[in-house]
Symmetry: C2
Subunit: 278 residues, 2 copies
């Protein structure tokens, strides 16, 4: 499997790369961003996956979240994948919470989605193995975080694949997709009415059925316009309490759903991961 | 004169605003970004103007340069103006270095540009007085910086209006517009062949004719694709040496012209200004 370099920009003494590669999982080309700090020139580094939210690509966090400065200090690689397969032949929907840029990081079972929308397999197996092989990523020291739909991705992929990830956090995650419009529309399309599949990709259900092996950090703006309708953080608080799951869930006063919120707390999340990745 | 708030996002315990207002100078509505740190709730703060480059608006630096974190720490307001008047009735050109988003921060004397392209007057008088009046900007503690065409703007506006600005820096500035295509095309359009006007807006000429009352900090990536053709930093080094002008001009190895470069050195520039603004 080979990587094509789309761009390389010097940034905080390291390099921000964007790569493209042919994906067997999605049967499309896929793009991802990779920040390599200067330390990566001398040996393998702990690595953080950042999964982005609805309407985003790998670019949003890469230009807006300001992670490079902290990654440079900590000697951490940051991998920001795209949010779905893309292209004219890839099914889509006019609603922003279904189809391209709205994969929900799962492996769809229903036509027409199942051919290309294999994003759990893509992230956890294909891209994961690819960056381990092609970049100086240190095996066993890989954490995962994400924003909104990407926070859902981080929580569910980590709890479903605890052997792949060593640390976990999220920004304003979708925690109960089975109970909100964003998730119900997507899960109905991707899984049909298979309620077992829904539960297996719902963070509130997973924290009871699987749990997470460590602690986790979640930040949520209390001025986030999606909090009441589609994020519903208190459901996850209750589920963690019920399951005796260690989780630090913070409501940040006045913050909204934008990358201004993500950027404000990015450094704390990266230090959280760095401490746990060692 | 009244400000309409376009957006307000909590960011690093302060607020990132975008405002619009009717401009007498440009005879259009103008938009600008203003970051107010938490300290601005308690009293006036030192303030930095950031002028952006060709093709940009107030948005680029605001979402990409990462200035809010440092501004929050230093208690500094950051004002990021738009790069030109805009609108269907405002003259434009298909070349990216003339017309909308390419004002070169001067007051045009030639038709059809002169009606709206009055950007020096807009920045140095109208917007300057507006933010002093409407925001908790501390009089006498206002610095200026910018990127590329905005670096040209910072250098020329500061040297031409030393009573208005107390500190000066630039990222990859256009230093000799009279000698490069970007500037020659723009100056020919905006000023015609009035060579005195050209010299009065050319940093290399101004450093000899006016100089700058203090020191200045300039960063330039040595991997910048525009360095040889349109930036030509060595001409400014020579002009400063000739005029005995204090200037720290640094070539940063491997950095290009992008906001990844700006973000990498933003903190150092902001600390440079904070020290001089006191």
């Amino acid at each position: 499997m080979s990587l094509s370099m789309i761009s390389a920009n010097r940034c905080f003494s390291g390099t921000q790369y964007v790569y493209r590669h042919a994906s067997a999982a999605t049967q499309t080309d896929m793009t991802f961003a990779a920040y390599l700090p200067e330390q990566a020139e001398h040996g393998p580094c702990p690595t953080l996956f950042f999964l982005s939210g609805l309407t985003c690509s790998e670019e949003n966090a890469t230009v807006k979240a300001g992670y490079q400065r902290v990654a440079a200090e900590l000697g951490m690689i940051v991998i920001a994948p795209d949010t779905s397969p893309r292209g004219e032949t890839v099914p889509n929907d006019e609603r922003y919470f279904l189809g391209q840029a709205a994969s929900f990081y799962l492996d769809a079972t229903q036509a027409p989605w199942s051919q290309h929308y294999q994003m759990e397999r893509y992230i956890v197996q294909e891209l994961y193995d690819l960056v381990l092989d092609a970049l100086p990523v240190e095996a066993g020291k890989i954490g995962i975080t994400g924003h909104s739909m990407g926070g859902h991705g981080a929580l569910t992929l980590a709890m479903r694949n605890p052997d792949r990830f060593a640390s976990l956090s999220a920004f304003a995650p979708v925690v109960a997709p089975s109970q909100v419009e964003w998730g119900q529309v997507a899960f109905s399309a991707y899984f049909g009415q298979d309620q077992a599949a829904w539960a297996a990709h719902d963070a509130c259900a997973l924290v009871g059925s699987h749990g997470w092996k460590g602690d986790m950090l979640i930040d949520q703006g209390d001025g986030d316009a999606f909090l009441e309708t589609n994020l519903r953080t208190p459901l996850f608080e209750a589920a963690c309490q019920q399951a005796d799951q260690s989780a630090l869930i913070r409501y940040q006063p006045g913050y909204d759903h934008s990358y201004y919120f993500v950027a404000s707390f990015m450094e704390e999340h990266m230090r959280f991961h760095a401490e746990r990745l060692g």
